[in-house]
Symmetry: C2
Subunit: 108 residues, 2 copies
DNA sequence: ACTGGTACACGGTATCACCGAGTAGTGGAA
DNA sequence: TTCCACTACTCGGTGATACCGTGTACCAGT
């Protein structure tokens, strides 16, 4: 699949929120997880910028823990604001995806 | 529905391509059409920047015709490159939307 | 003459994903 | 023991995109 970056704008952050929402996890592992899920070209730098933004916007709670496999890890967990944001993300996603799918039916 | 602009990045252009692909149409009417489809906050300025970009990228054929209702209209029609681009857009959309829906199932 | 609807153009802005380079810790191979 | 690979995070800068605001212009009705 060729370049998806433009289409991921606005959605990748939501995907990261969703991943954090389902388990306490750290940045490097989030990147691996996204790659497994089919977002193969998403790289660490991108994920870290999102994580720093989430932290700055007060959507996550961060805990630093030693690793054993390398440098210490920053574990992320959603707080109330984060869960609210995640909910809003899915509402937006549903709103848009329904309308786009409908547009497609109307004469491809 | 609150602000959708970030999530529309990368997809709105595809929507415009789809609309042009299904009928020969001009900018002002495309904006109305998008509004009807539920993209209520999309305004003329946005659509025109997309149309100018499509033209610049050689994806559309443009015909100017007098209106009777106001200034002359620029009618757009997809050429071969445009149809190819539209096809690529839907392939990307399918790729991403399937994966995002799957991510959502895995523990909301 | 004035207002409102139609129709397009354009410079500037914010946001986002991405890139590249850097810093650092651990463990295995040479 | 030295080097490399993997793990793990940071940060300044880039390019693409939708949006905003303003301007131009044509036409119809009042």
């Amino acid at each position: 699949m060729d370049d998806l970056t433009e289409m991921l704008k606005g959605t990748l952050e939501g995907c990261v929120l969703q991943i954090i929402g389902s388990e306490e996890i750290y940045g490097y592992a989030i990147t691996r997880r996204l790659n497994e899920l089919g977002f193969v070209d998403v790289v660490e730098g991108t994920v870290y910028t999102i994580l720093l933004r989430l932290e700055k916007n007060g959507l996550v709670q961060v805990t630093k823990r030693p690793s054993g496999q390398g440098p210490p890890r920053k574990f992320y967990r959603l707080n109330d604001a984060g869960r609210k944001e995640l909910k809003a993300f899915w509402a937006k996603w549903e709103y848009i995806s329904i309308r786009i799918d409908k547009l497609r039916e109307g004469g491809e």
